[in-house]
Symmetry: C2
Subunit: 116 residues, 2 copies
């Protein structure tokens, strides 16, 4: 696979994408608490630089049942490893994974294609 091509415009950051579908019994209040907790990791894990989230608004019906997207930004692959092993993340991950019916996690280093 051509993992490194076309490689114009590598931004140097690593995006850590978590897709989730939560269990039916998770109340809006519980979900709100979990999302605030996820965002709060930015203040606890030094290598985590940004956190954004949103709910699925796609219109093509190819979302495989996932309803939530969480995007964490790190400066490097080492940064995401630090995050995964950080006690604050380990504690939070245990809590949020219990609330999830299904989860998909994929990391990538965003590159813009330069066609000009």
């Amino acid at each position: 696979m051509a993992a490194e091509t076309p490689a114009a415009g590598r931004s140097g950051v690593l995006k850590h994408i978590v897709l989730a579908r939560f269990k039916e019994e998770v109340t809006p209040e519980r979900l709100d608490h979990l999302i605030r907790g996820f965002g709060g990791l930015v203040n606890l894990v030094p290598s985590m630089k940004a956190f954004n989230w949103g709910t699925d608004v796609s219109i093509e019906n190819m979302h495989h049942g996932f309803t939530h997207v969480f995007e964490c930004t790190f400066e490097s692959t080492e940064g995401v490893k630090e995050y995964i092993e950080h006690p604050a993340h380990l504690e939070f991950a245990k809590e949020i994974l219990l609330a999830m019916e299904k989860t998909l996690i994929i990391d990538y280093m965003p590159t813009a294609v330069n066609n000009s």
Copy 2:
């Protein structure tokens, strides 16, 4: 589900995320051509504002077999609808979908959680 909470820091853009796994027979040259074609839609579809891509570098083995991430940025939900219906996208989508073994598409409006 608490779709709108906690809603601090809504950025106003729409992120269109495509996860893919390509068929075994897709050569690196073919893949390179397809990725350049995907990025080239930025120049053909006015509502598409940015394109980034990357290959999976996750270490948690929760990527469900997906190997590629493509992220398109639009200014609104209307923008992504224009993109989906645009002739340049329709022609390209037919080509790239044929090369994909599996595909997941999810759109969201990124919101940063404000914990301060």
